[in-house]
């Protein structure tokens, strides 16, 4: 689109070609020099190579920007980028990819400029159609997706749209806005031993509740970007599916059995089913990717934030707490006991799902290594909703609380609900 430069050349003198040549020459020399240094195979030279490639790339870019209407400028730019592919150290593989892409773009642009105007317009038009067709496919990619869309998207468009990050489907707040989720964690650190009333020595633990995100603590910038980024972190693990519609498979029947045993009167701990949620919706296994990679990573992040001496002896129980909005009747109080207006932050509006207890364990394949793992995959409450509910009868009997907090029962430590406000 830089044919415009020629139109104003009589007013604005173009940059001398020799300047373009010299600049691109410097860029090429830097990138090629980096490539030559790479042949020596000395790891200490990687940093100088990176600097050379970075400044070489910029010089190449500047050279092109001086005379973008010239084919030869783009060819020089392509040469610099191509040298950059080899100049970049191998372990910076993503930048090798970048330089390869830049080479392709520069060559494509040079080829476009070489075409007669009509063909150039036609070619750019084809690019436009292809590009926006990709955007259209991205908008239709969430399920249910036509088979053809899926095929085209995966075969042709995915790498392109992924590289430039244009894969969003723009389905904002749809099909329904849905509640936000918070990450509530209980950190449990082994802290010596203590002798119980029965005279038996037991391990002693320090515990701490962490909530992410919190307002105003996590609103670190005036417009709250830091807060919303943390809200996205919790949103990532909210994707899951209620999967207890059928329990014909072996594992599911096991999961159900384990859970039901805790709901039986007299069990220890006794955690009944939620009274306001159907049983089959109470089990919500997170998206597989979230369960396998995100949760251990989140746990690692929190644990690595602890003092070094505590990391190995601390475990972390993670709960995703869904904060449901009140319907209008509950909000204004018309459907509440005593017609009392509902509090949008009342504990019963929170729906905690237990996502497991994580900690460092020895790597079974390499005894010298440790890794973060889900400690008990058969914990009876794993992925189950933990009820926070009104006391039976609905009439507040306890002067302190008029709800039963099974989150605290499950965690083994009283949860401070003010952390969620």
């Amino acid at each position: 689109m830089d044919r415009d430069a020629t139109a104003i050349a009589d007013v604005l003198p173009p940059v001398e070609w020799s300047v373009v040549q010299r600049t691109a020459g410097a860029g090429s020399a830097l990138c090629a020099g980096a490539a030559v240094l790479g042949l020596l195979g000395v790891p200490e030279l990687n940093t100088p190579r990176l600097f050379a490639v970075f400044f070489g790339g910029i010089a190449g870019g500047l050279a092109v920007s001086f005379r973008p209407e010239l084919i030869r400028a783009w060819l020089l730019g392509a040469a610099v980028a191509f040298a950059g592919v080899f100049g970049t150290p191998a372990h910076w593989d993503s930048f090798r990819l970048l330089f390869a892409v830049l080479t392709g773009v520069a060559l494509l642009r040079a080829a476009l400029l070489a075409l007669p105007a009509a063909y150039r317009t036609a070619t750019v038009s084809v690019f436009l159609v292809v590009h926006f067709f990709g955007i259209l496919l991205a908008t239709t990619s969430p399920s249910p997706t036509p088979w053809m869309v899926d095929q085209l998207y995966r075969r042709a468009y995915e790498p392109y749209l992924q590289f430039i990050y244009l894969r969003n489907a723009y389905h904002f707040y749809s099909p329904e806005p849905g509640p936000a989720s918070l990450l509530v964690c209980l950190l449990k650190t082994e802290d010596g031993e203590e002798v119980g009333a029965d005279g038996i020595k037991r391990k002693k633990y320090r515990t701490e509740w962490l909530v992410t995100p919190r307002r105003p603590a996590d609103v670190r910038d005036p417009l709250g970007v830091t807060y919303f980024r943390r809200l996205s972190i919790t949103d990532q693990i909210a994707r899951g599916y209620p999967d207890m519609m059928s329990s014909e498979t072996f594992e599911k029947s096991e999961i159900r059995t384990r859970r039901m045993q805790l709901a039986l009167p007299g069990s220890n701990p006794h955690i009944p089913m939620h009274t306001r949620e159907p049983d089959y919706l109470e089990y919500r296994m997170p998206d597989v990717l979230a369960a396998r990679y995100l949760l251990p990573s989140y746990a690692q992040h929190i644990l690595m934030d602890l003092p070094e001496q505590d990391r190995g002896r601390t475990t972390i129980k993670i709960y995703r707490v869904e904060h449901r909005t009140l319907d209008v009747g509950s909000y204004i109080g018309i459907s509440n006991y005593g017609r009392k207006p509902g509090d949008p932050y009342y504990p019963t509006t929170y729906y905690p799902y237990f996502l497991g207890e994580f900690g460092f364990v020895k790597d079974p394949l390499d005894a010298k290594k440790v890794r973060i793992e889900l400690l008990d995959p058969q914990e009876p409450m794993l992925y189950w909703l933990i009820p926070i509910q009104e006391r039976p009868g609905g009439i507040p009997g306890d002067p302190k609380k008029d709800y039963i907090d099974y989150l605290s029962v499950h965690a083994g430590r009283e949860f401070d609900w003010s952390l969620l406000r």
């Binding site: 689109m1 870019g61 749809s174 099909p175 806005p177 910038d221 995100l294 992040h301």
Partner: protein, 617 residues
Amino acid sequence: MSMTPPNNRSFLQRWREFWFAPGDPTTLGFIRIATGLLVLYTHLAYSLDLQAFFGRFGWYGTEYIERERKEFPWFVPSFSNWDESDDAQVRVPDYPNRRAAVIQFIRNLPRGESERRRSVAFLGKAADEDNPYYSRLSLNLAYRLYGAGDLQRETILVQGLAAGKQWYMVESGGKVEYRLEKPEDQKHEAIFPDAMMATPPDVRAALADDLRAFVAVLPKDSTAAQYVIAHVVELDQAHRKSFVRFLNTLPSDEAERAKLIDYLEYWNNDERQMSRRGHPIVSVWFHVTDPRTMAAIHGAILVIIALFTIGFCTRVTSVLTWLAVLGYIHRTNQILFGMDTMMNILLIYLMIGNSGAALSVDRLIARYRAARASIRRCGAIDDRTRAFLADAPPTAGANFGIRLIQVHFCFIYMAAGLSKLKGAGWWNGTAFWDVMINPEFTLMKYPWFEEFVRAIANVKPLYHAITMFGVWFTWGLEISFPFLVWTRLRPIMVWMGVLLHAGIGILMGLNIFELLMMTMLLAYFPAGVIRDRLRGSGTPKIGYGFDPNNPEQARAAAAVAAVDVDGQVNFEGSQKPQPDVKSLFGSLRFLGAFRVLLWVPGVSGFLAKRLAPAAKA
């Protein structure tokens, strides 16, 4: 960029005019400044969380993203084959305990290929069965025999299956017993499926061998063995075949085999079946994890974004800014929301459209160079140069960039609007209510807002009117916008869009996201509107005398011409006086914005030399 091209034009003519006609770069320049400021802010905010978001042990740790970007499995089902069972992938259970058991079973299988094939031949036969029900029965049989213990299993296999005699399983006193005779008086179950017993003796004998070999490689721990068999039982026939194929084709090379099983354990896929692996993504944060180096790079990126915002070397800094922003995006997807998407879209199109052609340092430099060239040519600012200085010349690139933003915006609105129609809440109004009172997003933390909403909700018709209007307005605007924005209703549509985003910004606190959406809406503003708003009116005129033959004065005159963006200066001969630098800063509107610089010691003298050398003399 006329909005209503003559009706007698062909589609191709209209297409060319729409995309390729030269356009005023002012709008794009203005969008660049707005976007640059928002990008700068967003990335300044990252400074507070650099380690938490992008560090080695950030929320999404380096080792996790490294594996993901290098190994993530991509599989494309067959394009032409109707039989989708061929696309079935090898699967291990998603439940961690079951997965561990199945993976251990795979790891423990014999290394030698023939021995391994022998061990899983029973599984292979079960997977090849035409009748899936029979397959399941066969596999359940394996588990029953496993539970029978070595000695009894051998007896059952030899005297039962091989000899063609049925055995029975009886539960008695909580224990399982196996009997050759049918216990008529007790609840019992035949061990061997009837279809199996109906096969010829040699087939049964072979089956007995297969069963024996399979049970021998099952885990010693009965729960683990149960998980392994349950997994194969619960797979459908196509996946069962795929599972057996994986076992049969494990490489004999130890390292290769371990790598393959590790990939299966981590990604639940056979890497040999993938059409591609990993993500084609770029980020400096994949490679840099040292906190100090990270801080230095982040600082450099902020400088690049600032340079892009002011439009310095825009063709280069726009690319660098986009790549830098992309680096943050690709490193940690988990912290992104709509804001990042919009930021990226704007940066891509601003980069393509050469957004530095107006309202930029680049433009100031171009103005200076044009004025210098004119003075060199004729000793004055000639008419052609005056026209160039008065307005940035239209460029095809500017129009192209604007069109890209406009069209992409229509896709965004259309997708956002249509997808809402899938939800009942966007029909009955509860979606609007849910958005309005969401405690994590809205102003609900303020008691006055809570009470305000309650006051509204207490009036039933008012509540219903607002929620109904809210949802109708939202999806009505989003769906109609892509059609009506190209008509004479454009101003109304654009302002309604601004209203929508301002409303969401205030209600939900997503300020930057909404500001970016409004920035995109700027693409629909005629350049003249922006130019006129930025241009000063009624600004005083001043005279500026200079000697074109004096290189110092010629350079100064060109510099003054460059910063005289409102055309306030009349350039005159050297016999006319030259205003001093304070007068220039006091009179020229553009320089007035930087008047504070004159307070810095030394700056006034420095600028006097370059802008008003004659006055100084």
